[in-house]
Structures are given as C-alpha cells and as structure tokens.
Symmetry: C2
C-alpha cells in the first residue's frame, strides 16, 4: 500500500509517494508559475492523475491521497482560502479533486496543519501528543497538535498566531496581517528594517546600499553576520517578539514541544537559544520548564510529509 | 440519581446536590476560615460525608461526586496546587477523598475547568463545542472547551492566560504572576492604580483619600462612576489589555464564545462592549466576526455547577 502526498506551495507543487511507515519512495515537483484560479486546481489534478497512472507500472498501489494547501482549508465546505493564489478566495478544491481521484479517498488540509502532521510522522514531533509547529515564512501561522489530533477551532481558523497582540497600543499598520506578523515574519523583517533605517540617519552600513524596496529578510541576516548595527537591532526586536509568542503558546497550550520552521527558520535557527531565554522571562514557569524548543527536522519537506500522514489518517478515519 | 458538586473557594466551601439534567436541588456553604493543609482536606471530606449520610433521608441517591479546587489539578497524580491554601503545594486530595467516598466515584478539577463546564451545563456556553471562560478574579485563568472536552495541555497547565505577554519590554514586576495578571486582575488593578497615583502629583480625587495599601478593585470602579480621572485611566488601560487578551484567544483558539466571569466581572461587565471593540482591532478578522463575547450567566455559581457536571461526566466516562 502506498500514499500520495501533494504539497501546493507559493511557487511549486511537490508530490511524493510514501509507504505506510513514512518512507518517501519517490518525489517530484513542478513550478506553479503564473497559474491562477482553476488552472492551479487542474495542475494538481494532472499531477495526481500522473501518479495514479504510474502506480500500475511501479507496483505502488496508491490507497489514499493527501493535499497540503497554502492558506486555510474549510473542512465542512471542502474549500480553500489561499491569499497568494488569485481566484482562490473560496476555491472548491475537494469536489474537483474527488472527481479525478474516483474511489481513492482525498483529504486536504492547511499548510500549518500539515507541517505539524509531517513532524509528527517523521520529524521533531514524533511521539508527541501536544506539540506546536510555528511556521515563520512570508507570513506566520501555527499548526497545533492536541491529544494527537490537529486542532482547528470552531471554524478551522485556530492557530492564526500572526495576529497575536504583543505590544501596546494598536497601530493601523497591524490591520493587514496582525501585530506579530507585521514585524517578525519574512515580509515583516524588511519592513521593520526600513522603519529603523528611516530613523538611523547617521547609519552608513550595508543595508543602506540596497534599495529599501528590494531588502529581503536574508539580507538582514547576512548583515547581522557582519555585525551591522541596524541588523542587530532588527534581530533583537524579532527575538523579543518570537520569545513573547513562544511564551504565550506555552502558557495557553502547555505543549510538550514547540517546533520552529518556515523560510525564516532557516537562517534564524541560530537564535533559538535567545528566543528560549526570552520566553522563559514571560511564560508560566512550570509549563515553560517542561517544553522543548526545537528546529523543524523536515525543513521544507514538512508539508509534503504532512500530506502523506493526512492521506493515511483519512484512510483510517482519524482526524 | 443525584450528583454532588463541591466548590472549594478562597473563603468558603460550597456544596450542592444536582439532578442529572442540571437542576440544583439543595445548596449550602461553610467558611473555610483559617484552615490550612490537611484541615482543608478534612473539611471537604466532612461535608461530603454529611451529604452522603443525608441522601438516605432525602431520597437523593448520590451516584457521583465532583470537586472544584482553586488552583491547578494534576490529573495523573490526583494532586492539587492551590497557591492560596497553605500546605497545598502538591496536596494528594483524590486519594484522601476516595477513602471517604468509598464506592462512589470522585472527580476533581481546577476552578477554571469547572467554570467552563458549569457554563456548558446550565449557563452561557450551552450548546457550544468550543468556548472559553475568562476568569478575572484575584488572579486570571481560562477554562477552555475544545470539541466539547476540557483542554488541559500536556501537564494540566493549559489556560494560564494571566501569564500572557502583551507589552514590550519585560519588567521584573511580571515575574510573580505574568504581564496580563500584573495589571488587569483583582490584585493588579489596585497596583496599577497606585503606580498611576504616584505619577499624578496634581491629582486630589477620591482615590487619594484612601490609604494606597487598602485600595481594592471595587474602589476604582466606584471612582470611575464618579468620573475620577485616575480611575478612568486605570479602566482604559485594563480595557485595552482585556481586549488584547480576547483577541489573542480568538486568533489562537477560534472559539464560538468567550465568557467573562470572576469577581472583577462583576463590576467590569459594563465594559464588555469596549473590550469587544478593542479586540476587533487586533484579532484575526474572520475568527473575530464569528465569536460571541458574553458575561457569565452563572456568576459565582459557575464552579459549583461545573463540579456537578464533572461528577456526571466522570460517571459516564467522559473527559
């Protein structure tokens, strides 16, 4: 028996065939390009079909399919809200893919849900019943495992941690994506840097050389390595915010483990000890002592593995 | 069939007999006084015995007993951490009460868990599967219902919302009970008032007349009614913090309802519309639109009703 996992990202669509015990048998990916709306749905269906056609040749009998989508998956409706795919404000993906899959069951879930499922299956959350994947990429979201199950809340929106309020008082710039994400995400870090640069009139470091609108989070981490004072200030502020966010997750959810992943962790993994130290100041002390803070062990494969476990759990009737 | 609910508070021990459908048949309470350690455990056992002895007379056949305790209940150990009861740092209450109860099952839970259970049974959370009771009394804690069950986290510490980090940067005064609770709890409000009074040298209002060490949260709400400027500043700060806390609970848990209770709500219930408006600025907007913000409908009976439902759920093997 084999499982097909498909991970739709912002730029590429990755697919892999897994065995029941979490081994990846084969993997491939294609670029999403400038596809939009139905074209993206059709791309997924075509890749799915390709694997279903090949299974006979390869002897990998695909029993179940799991799909990881970049946004929020509404379980009851079978529809996806994916802010970065034009035309996917409320896209009826499940109905569409079920047509292609025929009798083979298809399950879909949000990327953050798939990240924690992937880590549970073959990564840093193995053996955990309560763990959180804090995904810091372009945006910030959390996949939350409670009692071995993905926690979704009343309307599948739970884990919207980018909206965490961490700073008095409210500013209009938080309206687009929330206080935490405004500063400490892949998109937020360059914005925060530009704010600090605007004030640092005497500064003439490397970050000044780059046109402000082209700054990326990676440039700031590079500059940090060169002891750049603005980069150090940006990192200090982000470490404080990441630490406060960890503290809040620890005090509210009392998890066994918090796993950092996403594009920013990545380069920011080296700050995990500082983030841990910051969190220790704020959090409920007993819960804080018991939590482990770790990097993702699957990196950018977490969603793909998660889609694989999703396929298996759906087959077994688990949520 | 009848159920016995017992609610151990800071000052009194309340007991009630309930029918299976949540009607309270009888109720009584005794003062805890200056009892400590084992004396408190013995007091509970004696009240329990009294009800068990009387049941034959009254024809109320008690099938199950639930106990609400002020602190954290560690389920695996059957022990209680109750910061305000001397000698209850790790008190083995379950073993002790089981001896008294004999064959009748006994279940214990933390006050915050019992509050949300009480509201679920006969109060504002009826019909909810995902709801949060935000208890703002001397301290601050939250009882969290997920998928109809009380959420405890990996070590029974989940819902320690008083420790929420809401304000950069860390100050040493947060170490005792957390940033949120330091300001916006029954104990915090007078402390915050004293801080503001110390700065308000020109102020000569009613709050100046009272020795600072005797100020209570109620005095500040009284002064607010008289348009006192310091009281208004304190309330404005607390409304901001309560609103941010609601926002974080909404973005992280995506509940159907958040219920405000505890001694402070109470007098602060009139600020719920302001708290709701503040939360709307910060929270994930879709989740925010779907949540209801309401006062407790059981008031200081929430824990007692919760103990009753706890007794019934234990009998039926539900968590």
């Amino acid at each position: 028996m084999a499982l097909l996992g498909i991970d739709l990202g912002g730029t590429k669509l990755a697919s892999a065939v897994f065995t029941e015990d979490g081994s990846m048998i084969s993997e491939e990916s294609v670029l999403v390009g400038d596809r939009r709306g139905r074209e993206v749905g059709e791309l997924i269906a075509r890749r799915m079909n390709k694997f279903l056609d090949e299974q006979a040749l390869d002897g990998d009998d695909i029993h179940s399919i799991g799909i990881c989508v970049p946004g929020i998956y509404y379980q009851k409706e079978g529809s996806v809200w994916a802010p970065n795919i034009p035309g996917w404000g409320d896209y009826p993906l499940l109905a569409e893919l079920k047509q292609t899959a025929g009798k083979i069951p298809v399950a879909i879930d949000s990327d953050r849900a798939c990240y924690i499922l992937g880590e549970l299956w073959e990564g840093a959350a193995q053996g955990c019943s309560d763990a959180i994947f804090l995904a810091v990429g372009t945006g910030i979201g959390a996949g939350i495992l409670i009692d071995g199950k993905v926690f979704r809340g009343a309307h599948d929106i739970a884990g919207s941690v980018g909206w965490m309020a961490l700073e008095r008082s409210y500013q209009d710039k938080f309206a687009a994506c929330g206080n935490f994400e405004t500063y400490a995400s892949g998109d937020g870090i360059p914005k925060l840097t530009r704010e600090i640069l605007a004030e640092a009139t005497a500064y003439a470091g490397v970050l000044r050389d780059k046109p402000a609108e082209h700054l990326l989070a990676y440039d700031i981490f590079d500059a940090y390595e060169k002891d750049d004072p603005v980069a150090k200030e940006v990192v200090a502020q982000c470490v404080e915010l990441w630490g406060m966010a960890v503290a809040n997750l620890v005090s509210l959810f009392n998890p066994e483990k918090i796993i950092f992943g996403g594009g920013v962790f990545g380069p920011a993994i080296k700050f995990l000890p500082d983030i841990h130290a910051e969190a220790r100041k704020w959090a409920q002390p007993v819960a804080m002592k018991k939590v482990a803070i770790e990097p993702s062990s699957l990196g950018n494969h977490a969603g793909l593995f998660g889609a694989g476990l999703l396929a298996m759990r759906n087959l077994k009737g688990q949520s």
